[in-house]
């Protein structure tokens, strides 16, 4: 099936399809967030800001968003993937792999040699996917605390 999947840059007309795919993984609707992502990653055409979709038979069946970030947390320029989704009907067919490979090609072209992501530790499906693509725990450790008691 993957031979018939096209990975292409996202377009403004993909907005509703991306929102629907996002709702599969997270039932919380966040149209304002996605409007901002489309403005910054689709309309702006900034180098190093990459928003791709996977298309099959004219339907958008997946998306991935990433960018090059430099010197956050003291890290040299590095690629970040911060959103990824594949329609449940089209999972385990290599669609996520195709999108991540294209993302990595673009990030490499943009001048970075490392790609990072962050995933909720309870999200076994997505964690297992990134691990299957060769990703490992990185050198930065995420820390957090509740601040409502201050």
């Amino acid at each position: 099936m993957t031979e018939q999947v096209t990975i292409r840059n996202a377009m403004s007309s993909d907005f509703d399809a991306v929102i629907d795919l996002d709702l599969v993984g997270d039932p919380q609707e966040k149209p304002a967030y996605w409007r901002g992502i489309f403005d910054r990653y689709v309309a702006s055409g900034r180098a190093g800001s990459i928003f791709l979709v996977a298309e099959f038979n004219g339907d958008v069946i997946g998306f991935i968003v990433g960018e090059v970030r430099a010197w956050e947390f003291g890290s040299p320029p590095c690629g970040w993937v911060f959103a990824l989704s594949v329609s449940p009907k089209h999972r385990e067919m290599g669609v996520g792999q195709l999108m991540l490979e294209e993302m990595c090609k673009r990030l490499k072209k943009a001048g970075v040699t490392t790609v990072r992501t962050m995933v909720d530790r309870e999200n076994k499906l997505t964690l297992s996917f990134f691990r299957s693509q060769g990703m490992r725990t990185g050198r930065y450790i995420e820390l957090e605390k509740l601040i409502d008691d201050i």
């Binding site: 530790r121 076994k124 297992s128 691990r131 299957s132 060769g134 725990t137």
Partner: protein, 139 residues
């Protein structure tokens, strides 16, 4: 964290058998390949058979073969057949001790370590571990 020998030997056996589910291997075949005791491995294989990850094939040319789901079974699934992966912190249970706050803090830290360990092992499937091993072998 220290993985017990039984878990480690089970991972050897499961990964070896899962690398070619059509193939049957004896306990000795696997033990020789990894330099471990056949006797110990045979006991572990019995547990793996009971868990349905492995099937024992009887008769001439018999042995063991993998019958699990390679892209659904994680390293933690195998390890938890043999141990719980809870850090051993040999402290008294919190109660009426003056040092309760320190004891609880240390227990909280070991829980944090255990959670991270499990989060890693529970997201590496046998398929991913085998693919990474094959890439490593090519280097």
């Amino acid at each position: 964290m220290k993985i017990q020998k039984a878990s480690l030997f089970a991972l050897y056996a499961v990964l070896e058998l899962a690398s070619d589910p059509e193939r049957q291997l004896s306990a000795t075949d696997i033990a020789d390949k990894y330099g471990v005791s056949t006797h110990h491995l045979a006991k572990i294989l019995r547990t793996l058979v009971r868990s349905k990850l492995v099937q024992a094939v009887r008769g001439a040319g018999g042995g063991y073969r993998f019958t699990g789901v390679i892209n659904r079974t994680t390293l933690l699934d195998v390890i938890e057949l043999f141990e719980t992966l809870e850090s051993e912190l040999d402290t008294p249970s919190p109660g009426d001790h003056a040092g309760d706050a320190i004891i609880e803090e240390l227990q909280s830290i070991t829980r944090e370590i255990d959670d991270l360990t499990k989060a890693v092992l529970d997201t590496i499937t046998l398929e991913t571990a085998l693919n990474s091993s094959r890439l490593r072998a090519k280097l």
